[in-house]
Amino acid sequence: MAEIILVSALVLAAVALVMGLYRLIAGPCTVTRAIALDLLTLITIPLLVGAAVWAGRAVYVDVALVYGILAFLGVLALARYLEKGI
C-alpha cells in the first residue's frame, strides 16, 4: 500500500519534470530557460532521495545534497552573468 502511493507520487514528480523540460526547450527567452532549469534541478533532489529509498542505498542521499548545493551555485552564477556579464 505504502509502496504504491510512494511510486505514484514519484511518477507524478517525474511528470512535473517533463512539463518543466517543455518550458526549458520552448523558451522563449534566456531568463525563462534559467527558471525552468532551476525548477528541474529542484525537482530532481526528491527524485534522487526517492531512488535512495527505493534502491535501499543511503549513499544517494549525499548525492542529492551535493547536487542541491551545486545547483544553487549554478543558478547564482547564471543570475550574475545575466546582470553584469562575465
Partner: protein
C-alpha cells in the same frame, strides 16, 4: 503503529508531488519571466520540502539527513529565485502588458541586450 508510518510518509510525498506539478503548470502558463518565477518558486519549494520530509517519515533512518536537505532547500531556493528575478529586471527584460506597478523602474537598464531578449513574452 509501525505499519501506519510508511503510509503517512507516502501520502506526504504525494502531496509534495502535487505541489511540484502545480509549479510546473505555473511555469508553463504564466505570461512573463517574473510571473513564472513567482508561480514556480513558492509551489516547488513547498513541494520539495514536503516530499523530503515525507520520504524521511517513510524511511526513518534517513530522516536527520533529509531534514538538513529540506532546510537547505528552504533557505537557498527563494534566494536563488530572488537573484534571478533581480538580474532579469536589471538586464531590462520587459514586463507583461498587464503589469500595473514597477517599483524598481529607476534601476532598470534601458533595453535588454539581444542575447537575453528574444520574444520574452508568449
Amino acid at each position: 503503529m509501525a505499519d501506519i508510518l510508511p503510509i503517512i510518509g507516502a501520502l506526504v510525498v504525494l502531496a509534495g508531488a502535487v505541489f511540484m506539478v502545480l509549479a510546473a503548470i505555473g511555469i508553463i502558463r504564466m505570461p512573463d519571466p517574473y510571473n513564472r518565477i513567482q508561480a514556480g518558486t513558492k509551489a516547488s519549494t513547498l513541494g520539495v520540502v514536503l516530499a523530503l520530509i515525507g520520504l524521511g517519515i517513510y524511511d526513518l533512518d534517513l530522516l536527520p539527513k533529509l531534514i538538513v536537505i529540506a532546510l537547505f532547500v528552504l533557505i537557498t531556493n527563494p534566494l536563488s529565485s530572488h537573484a534571478l528575478a533581480r538580474a532579469a529586471h536589471a538586464a531590462g527584460v520587459p514586463l507583461a502588458d498587464e503589469t500595473v506597478r514597477d517599483e524598481l523602474a529607476a534601476t532598470r537598464a534601458p533595453e535588454a541586450p539581444e542575447a537575453i531578449l528574444e520574444e520574452t513574452t508568449s
